[in-house]
């Protein structure tokens, strides 16, 4: 058994291509750009070694701190929304839908398919208030909830919520599909025998399927967390960070510093902060979902 599973030749054949490709085209550029964080200015234009200056600035930069705080809130809301709603829907589809499962699944996935820039533009129109009401305000208007009509993405109090709602909408289908595929890939006989033993659906979910799905949960959380920390496209296309800096995410700040303000090194330093944030949060997830024994 062990001999087969630790076959050196097979191991090399299986892993080397991935490791090589990944190292050359992903890891090297990443390390290379992090190395840039010891410089000021733009590479190839006015690049100068500046030691730890960029890192020291990280600690006193209130704009960065504000956008990190914003991001934490955003991550909390969107991750929980995406993963749990996705899981719940997958379970419901698996149990309640007999015919048309595939239809439901395909439809749920449609928002995931769309380019995020197009989704941003679409939601701008959904949230619009002027020159004419967008979809949301128009619907609020006919159901008599006029007092709720507002400039959803133009108002400081609602802009972050509007962004979260859009990203949950766009992401849920993916998690639904991930959980759904995993559920039907689960060995059927375990569930069958539990059913024969008279276990209720809820019990089957809780004590048989949930534990088996643990790695999927871990994966879903890691995937959603890293995606949310790095949110860029959707925020740029929906609100451009506005109103003011209400929805200004760390990646947008990184991008502006690196490319617009001409401080590539400082941008790289912010990228490092984002990396650290991802590592921290994903290790917490890893610890929570650590397999017992």
């Amino acid at each position: 058994m062990n001999r087969v599973l630790s076959n050196k030749k097979a191991l090399a054949l299986f892993t080397l291509p991935a490791i090589l490709l990944f190292t050359v085209f992903a890891v090297v550029p990443i390390i290379w750009s992090l190395f840039y964080s010891f410089f000021s200015g733009m590479p190839g234009v006015n690049f100068e070694f500046c030691g730890l200056e960029n890192f020291i600035n990280l600690f006193t930069d209130s704009e960065l701190h504000a956008s990190l705080m914003l991001n934490v809130k955003y991550v909390a809301v969107v991750v929980i929304g995406q993963v749990f709603i996705g899981f719940a829907l997958a379970m419901l589809i698996n149990y309640a839908v007999k015919r048309g499962k595939n239809f439901v699944r395909v439809c749920m996935f449609i928002p995931v398919v769309l380019p995020s820039v197009a989704v941003g533009q679409l939601f701008q129109k959904i949230y619009a208030i002027a020159p004419q009401y967008g979809l949301l305000n128009a619907l609020l208007d006919i159901v008599g909830l006029k007092f709720l009509i507002t400039a959803w993405i133009g108002d400081v109090s609602t802009a972050v919520g509007a962004l979260c709602a859009m990203d949950i909408w766009k992401g849920v289908g993916l998690y639904c599909l991930i959980f759904y595929s995993a559920i039907i890939d689960l060995p059927g006989d375990v569930v069958e025998s539990a059913k024969i033993d008279g276990a209720s659906s809820f019990r089957i979910i809780r004590s048989i399927q949930m534990p088996l799905l643990k790695p999927i949960f871990r994966m879903a959380f890691i995937f959603s967390i890293t995606g949310c920390i790095k949110v860029y496209d959707s925020a740029v296309s929906l609100t451009k960070g506005g109103p003011g800096t209400t929805t200004y995410m760390p990646t947008m700040y990184m991008f502006d510093e690196a490319f617009t303000y001409g401080n590539f090194g400082y941008g790289s330093a912010i990228a490092l902060i984002i990396l650290v944030e991802c590592v921290l949060l994903t290790s917490i997830v890893g610890m929570i979902f650590k397999e017992r024994g």
Binding site: L5, L21, A96, L135, I274
Partner: protein, 278 residues
Amino acid sequence: MTAKKGKGKIISKIIIGIALVLSIYPVIWLILSSFKTTQEFSLLPSYSLPQGLYLDNYISAWTSGNMGVYFKNSIICTLGSLILIVVVALPASFALTKMKWKGKNFFNKYFMMGLMIPIQVALIPIFQIYKNLNLLNSHIGLILVYTVFGLSMTILMFTGFFESFPNEMLEAAVIDGCSIYGCLTKMVVPLMGNSIVTVLTLQFLTSWNDLLFSQTLISETAKKTVQTGLVMFSGAHGQVDWGPMFASMAIGVLPTLGLYLFLSKFMIQGMTAGAVKG
């Protein structure tokens, strides 16, 4: 007992129904709106149906040619990266979950790095590497970068799915004299059909919808992909009316949607095949 169960099912169905409406209605609204005239936009509420098929929006949005070429390029790059990523990521993920070796833990984390760094920051080094390897303006270049930056996600998902693959089944097969290659190709791949298709769908989407890399690494018009082509015709100045605006959004969305719906037919076939074997 059965009555209670029936009630639960009905409630579940209602919830799914609501979720369905929520997820597709905005897209349907987008497509319907793209057929509206300017007058309809200003006179009627935005949820109303279009009065007729007003195709001028599409004509005014679809002004630049070359879309055929862009589609061809997108298809080549996307399919190329799909094939490459399966060949590369599937065995690697198998080794990272089911095989026994020292570097397993390290490399699991190593591959995750791609998920955690905002890729925008790596653009300058990637551009320089590509310039030196003569990969700028080439399909291979895009295929490589799509594969590599999809690798983290793909491996994470594959390993997630493989972990829930029961070890006992694998052990039984090995005891029956199955080789490591056989385990992978004859057991894991067929049984994990759904999960594999899911991962591939995602990879397909990220490659197809990519704008950042294609815009940075491709400057020749003949090598551009659909998403960059769309930027070229929606232009720096926004459209004046909602109609053409919606039409250009629809042009951005519909091909992706169509392709997805087309591919999902195969996905479903793959799934039912998997279920039968399971």
